[in-house]
């Protein structure tokens, strides 16, 4: 397996922390893209829906959109960008395993995989 798994950090609702976290993701992603390696962002399902405040929501949905754009660029070079979202209480090992799976699946890109059932009946992000 080659690539990077990037877990979104907790940021609260302070803009400076949101900016720092998104910048960290950008730097990781750019380095991966330059090395032509795949990457996966890991976020909380609740944050895709904005249920834990705007700061964490901006990070989660920002990463999802960034992954979709990166996937378009990577598809021309053979690397992928995906997102794994998980419900609260999910075993982190299970989340990590899905992230590794996404890195290995070279023909899946720009996708969101949700671990758990918390997204069912909710808006499609």
């Amino acid at each position: 397996m080659s690539g990077v798994i990037h877990w979104a950090e907790e940021v609260g609702d302070d803009w400076a922390r949101v900016r720092t976290e998104l910048t960290r993701a950008f730097e990781v992603s750019r380095a991966s893209a330059q090395a032509e390696e795949s990457f996966v962002y890991v976020v909380r399902q609740d944050d895709l829906l904005g249920r834990r405040g705007p700061g964490n929501a901006m990070v989660a949905t920002g990463l999802l959109s960034a992954a979709r754009t990166a996937a378009l660029e990577g598809s021309r070079k053979g690397w992928t960008a995906n997102v794994v979202a998980y419900d609260d209480g999910t075993d982190p090992e299970a989340v990590q395993a899905w992230a590794r799976r996404m890195l290995e699946a070279g023909d899946v890109t720009g996708e969101l995989v949700r671990v758990g059932a918390g997204h069912i009946g909710k808006t499609l992000p």
Partner: protein, 208 residues
């Protein structure tokens, strides 16, 4: 809806030329920017019934070539300024008021726009979170325009723009008025049971 006062906020002085707006010339990315707007709203002495977050810039490049400066500038204007303004003004809003954030269809992904796409995706998340936290008094929605005939899109080389139009089922660029109509609808009671949503104004491009 009765007579309203419209306060226009821009970094450029040209806004002051419009007779229909109370202009505020301010850089919303500056530390004091959002509070200058809040003070203007308070001094207007009227209830705040609507906010439209419309600041946006592009600095396009493929991810591998994107500079730190281009990433930071787009994030700060498109997401940081919108967030800081919305949180500054939200406490002033009247019950029944509405916030409309301008996202972009690029939140679904757009080649060469890692920074822009991330920033507009962030606007979507901000919209959802504020919709939850400001309910039931204030509704918060987003509009995601596609290719619109505007200063931003007219900077795209003509040949590329023509190819982009070819991919739009409605076979043309949208107009600023078509975006404004959607924004207006979301600001008014016509959309009184809608909050936390993203309305794409893109001529069907998300399907083609």
């Amino acid at each position: 809806m009765g007579p309203i006062t419209v306060i226009g906020v821009d970094i450029a002085p040209e806004l002051a030329l419009s007779e229909h707006l109370t202009p505020v010339q301010v850089d919303l990315t500056s530390p004091e920017g959002p509070s200058v707007v809040r003070e203007t709203v308070e001094s207007a002495g009227a209830p705040l019934v609507g906010v439209v977050n419309n600041a946006g810039i592009t600095r396009d490049a493929r991810l591998v070539n994107m500079t730190d400066d281009d990433f930071a500038a787009v994030l700060e204007v498109n997401l940081g300024a919108s967030y800081r303004l919305a949180t500054e003004l939200a406490p002033l809003m009247s019950d029944g008021g509405a916030i409309v954030n301008i996202a972009s269809r690029a939140y679904l992904g757009n080649f060469g726009q890692f920074n822009y796409s991330m920033s507009k995706g962030g606007v979507v998340g901000m919209t959802r979170a504020l919709a939850l936290s400001l309910a039931p008094g204030v509704r918060v929605n987003a509009v995601a325009p596609g290719l619109i005939s505007s200063e931003m899109s007219l900077g795209i080389p003509e040949e590329i723009r023509a190819r982009m139009v070819d991919a739009i089922p409605l076979d043309r660029m949208g107009t600023p008025e078509e975006v404004a109509n959607t924004v207006w609808w979301l600001l008014t009671p016509l959309s009184s049971y809608i909050t936390g949503e993203v309305i794409v104004v893109g001529g069907g491009r998300s399907l083609s």
